[in-house]
Amino acid sequence: MNGYSKRVFNLAYQFCGSYQEAEDLTQDIFLKLHGVLAKYDPCKNFAAWLTTLAKNHLIDVYRKSKWEKGHRDDFEDVLAKAESRSNPEGDLLRRERTSMLWTALDGLAPDIRMAVILRDIQGKTYEEMAEILDLPLGTVKSRINRGRLQLAMALKDRKGECHDL
């Protein structure tokens, strides 16, 4: 249970950005899991199946409720809630960049955001992503490309603002 709850909770947290909301969403996902566990095909990879269930729930809730933009936790809170703090200080510039990207995730469309999270934060392979997202490999790659381009543009704008100051 611990491993799966951590996996689902982190996906929810990275997607919605609020620790409190991620806890509620994780509860909902596990409740849903108990309802549909009978439909699970043992030939399939359980972790991927659970991630797909979580992904569908997160995107459904997002579309129904349209979480307000800009309500993501501060990146300092993310660091404070981190499980291991091997390098809590890090390089200041990199930390600022990561903080800015954490906030910029809110600007991505839900499908694109999910693809970027799975690939760049959680380190999934394209094949794993195609299974989780139930999409052809080409669509997965194109979503990641779009997401990364948007985030790079956001970084560029931010650098421009800093230079102006």
Binding site: N2, S5, E83, T98, L101, D120, I121, L149, L151, M153
Partner: protein, 168 residues
């Protein structure tokens, strides 16, 4: 290749997923185009920064809540079958019978004949009720007459009894 076409390939280029020929084309374009080169550098920085976002720890409260799910919150169907359904069984049986009768009527090939026979039965029942009502009215009249006769005879008997008593 245009900048747009190159930008579509930047992510795969970054991940080392491009075939050699395309990789060489992107390489050449990046060497000549500062805008695309800057974007590619930023994509690389962004990928590295996102990879450094740490995993959050799951709180004890959440874990306790998750472990409590199977005991406290059963799926809706299970909850219904244990609580509501036994109480509703007689009503469900009646409803099922009514629905079967209705569907038999609705899908019967000679539905018009059934309609006519129902009409006839309704009319027969109505005329029977009317006849009963008329008879009942007749009985009411007779009962009224009988009551007044009985009352008169009782009064007569009382009057005769009183006279006899005075004579004695």
């Amino acid at each position: 290749m245009t900048c747009d076409a190159i930008r579509d390939l930047l992510s795969a280029f970054l991940d080392g997923e491009l075939p050699a020929a395309e990789r060489a084309r992107v390489d050449r374009h990046l060497a000549a185009c500062p805008d695309c080169r800057e974007l590619w550098t930023l994509m690389g920085e962004s990928r590295a920064a996102l990879a450094s976002i740490p995993e959050a720890a799951v709180s004890r409260e959440l874990l306790a809540g998750l472990y409590a799910i199977p005991g406290s919150k059963k799926p809706l169907f299970v909850r219904l079958s244990r609580t509501l359904l036994p109480r509703l069984q007689p009503a469900m049986a009646v409803l099922t019978a009514v629905l079967i009768a209705l569907s038999m009527y609705a899908f019967h090939p000679n539905r018009k004949l059934i309609d006519r026979s129902i009409n006839r039965q309704v009319h027969l029942a109505y005329s029977r009720v009317e006849r009963l009502y008329v008879r009942a009215e007749g009985w009411t009249g007779r009962l009224g007459e009988m009551t007044s006769t009985v009352l008169d005879s009782v009064k007569g008997a009382k009057g005769a009894g009183g006279k006899e008593a005075r004579d004695n």
